[in-house]
């Protein structure tokens, strides 16, 4: 499968022929990532990097302006009693709350990401999805997290999925587009690879595992397959695509395993929050607890950290 960029002519590959994935091999490879020993200074640097890559997220029907304001405060002030901490990369909210977040984050480098395209199910017509996305952009979103039509994907209607992503990309301009594959609904790793390839060829700036509403959400094997798809795409086209595992990553140790995987699959170029993000709500506190533990030698308690 190749994308040929020749005289400005782009030839889109046949997505029925994407690579097949050896699941057993993938799981064995992944188990290696969990056995690296990272201690002391390296651990603290890693944890600090994790913090800087978090998309602090709240995507609940019950979200209020107050909840979003509180989360934005946390994004700016992760734990003021520890000097020298980074801020998170972005906050991630529903379109109706983008303007609230935007206002709260004036004067910071923290981006506002909005989910769109009838998140999380994506079961609406394309024009509704475009309107949804346009609204988020008009409200000031710096990044848009869209969902693909999993039903169409399962029906083999890859062109529809491709065109849908391309149409959303079309209205995004400078806004970075993250494409959520919802891997928990895709099934086999082969499908994950295929959906990743479709999303990247259609113009995704980021590919993202999950909405966080379906279990399983992000897992190490799924992320590995997506990282390999990014690597192959970069080798063929020279275009860098970002990666965002989301959902289910709630402790520091696991987050470090993800960073190790990124480093070993894609290299240092991806180890910044421009190219790698964690979609998470409770990860930040666990990382903060570990950092304070490293500095004080005392295991920490939730009692001394802000409530998510």
């Amino acid at each position: 499968m190749t994308t040929i960029i020749n005289n400005n002519e782009i030839i889109i590959p046949d997505f029925r022929n994407t690579p097949l994935i050896d699941q057993v091999g993938t799981e064995e490879r992944v188990s290696r990532f969990t056995k690296r020993s990272i201690k002391n200074e390296a651990k603290e640097a890693g944890l600090s990097m994790v913090l800087s890559m978090i998309d602090l997220t709240t995507l609940e029907g019950a979200d209020t302006q107050g909840k979003v304001k509180q989360m934005c405060y946390k994004a700016r002030h992760l734990h003021d009693s520890v000097p020298g901490l980074p801020t998170v990369a972005a906050v991630c909210v529903y379109p109706s709350l983008v303007s609230v977040a935007k206002k709260e984050l004036i004067g910071t480098d923290i981006k506002v990401a909005s989910v769109a395209t009838a998140f999380p199910a994506g079961q609406t017509p394309l024009k509704v999805k475009i309107a949804d996305t346009q609204f988020a952009i008009d409200q000031g979103a710096d990044e848009v997290d869209m969902v693909i039509s999993r039903g169409r994907f399962h029906s083999g209607d890859y062109n529809y999925v491709f065109d849908e992503i391309a149409s959303i990309k079309n209205i995004c301009n400078d806004v970075r587009l993250k494409v959520i594959l919802e891997t928990g609904e895709l099934g086999a790793l082969d499908k994950v690879r295929r959906a990743s390839d479709i999303a990247m060829h259609a113009g995704a700036d980021f590919i993202k595992t999950s909405t966080g509403k379906i279990k399983p959400a992000a897992t190490l094997p799924v992320t590995l397959i997506m990282l390999e798809a990014i690597r192959d795409y970069h080798e063929k086209t020279g275009i860098m695509v970002g990666m965002k595992p989301a959902g289910g990553i709630s402790n520091s140790k696991l987050a470090l395993h993800y960073l190790i995987m990124v480093k070993e699959v894609l290299g240092d170029a991806w180890l910044t929050n421009r190219w790698f993000r964690f979609g998470a709500s409770s990860l930040a506190n666990d990382v903060l607890k570990q950092i304070v533990k490293l500095r004080t030698g005392r295991y920490q308690s939730n009692d001394y950290f802000s409530i998510d």
Binding site: R298, Y299, Q300, S301, N302, D303
Partner: protein
């Protein structure tokens, strides 16, 4: 290695028990992979016992913390039933405990007494589960139009360094009042006599005690006491050994997050070792002011 029941007419290799630690309702080996060999009075090795590390302790605290919400929300009556059940199951395994106590150096008579007292102690605290609240709570007279009352609430996660001698009755005597009051705990068992402490974990495991409510580690107090007392997510610590220097360090460490520190020393065989004040030790008292329309003198209620 422990000497189990001998079969007269059969030649067979004895299957020896692997003594493991008890965290979150499971029996893992220590994360550190280390072990030690306590000896009996004749110098025989009692077993390969897990030498727990600070990470085992950390994992145990996480388990205890997550079990804390559910355990403290159980009805007092249900906690009572579960403690009673512990006694029932221990009763059914008397022979095994007597055997292990003897291997650890006790005499037949003393071992039997220790097991009997341990069962009785569990039943004693089972009885107190739904009664201490009435004794220690109060409605307080105040000179204004408020209804003022004080009630007991469990402290949360309690770290316990269990007695070194009397590894069964000592262990039961420090655990029972803590969990009777709705707390969860992480216990460091006797270092020199750990066998029946680990076997007691099996009793806990088959007694409807939710995973994480009682966690039992084996290992060295000198190594672990610092972590037991400095962990910020531990609300109280009970020390029941004799090293005054160790106790002092525990008190210093505990001051960081204002852990309650208790020094429980007793003749554990005596009935004096059991009383509801041990339950009270691990309770915080919450006092609530509630407005009423008229003060008592006017004949009003609340």
């Amino acid at each position: 290695m422990s000497k189990g029941v001998k079969y007269k007419n059969e030649k067979r290799l004895e299957i020896l028990k692997t003594y493991k630690i008890y965290i979150g309702g499971k029996f893992p080996r220590t994360e550190s992979g280390r072990y030690y060999n306590p000896l009996d009075s004749k110098g025989n090795i009692l077993g390969n016992i897990c030498l727990s590390s600070r990470k085992d302790f950390r994992n145990a605290v996480v388990a205890a913390r997550s079990a804390s919400v559910g355990w403290s929300a159980r009805t007092a009556f249900n906690r009572s039933q579960i403690l009673y059940r512990l006694g029932e199951i221990l009763e059914g395994r008397r022979a095994q405990f007597i055997e292990e106590l003897k291997i650890q150096g006790s005499t037949s008579a003393k071992a039997e007494k220790e097991v009997n007292n341990s069962i009785d102690r569990l039943i004693y605290y089972a009885g107190w589960c739904d009664k201490y609240q009435q004794i220690f709570s109060s409605v307080n007279p105040v000179s204004s139009s408020y209804y003022n009352f004080s009630v007991c609430e469990p402290m949360g996660v309690v770290a316990i360094i269990a007695p070194e001698e009397n590894s069964l009755i000592g262990l039961v005597s420090v655990i029972a009042p803590v969990v009777a009051g709705g707390n969860t705990c992480v216990v460091l068992a006797s270092e020199s006599k750990p066998l029946c402490s680990v076997t007691f974990a099996e009793v806990i495991n088959s007694s409807d005690v939710p995973g994480g409510v009682i966690n039992i580690l084996t290992g060295n107090a000198k190594e672990l006491a610092g972590h037991f007392s400095s962990h910020m997510d531990v609300n109280a610590i009970i020390y029941s050994r004799t090293d005054k220097e160790e106790l002092k360090n525990i008190q210093i460490n505990a001051s960081e997050n204002m852990k309650r520190v208790f020094y429980w020393k007793s003749d554990w065989f005596s009935v004096k070792a059991q009383n509801p004040y041990k339950i009270r030790d691990l309770q915080e008292i919450k006092t609530t002011w509630h407005p009423i329309e008229q003060i008592g003198g006017a004949g009003s209620g609340y």
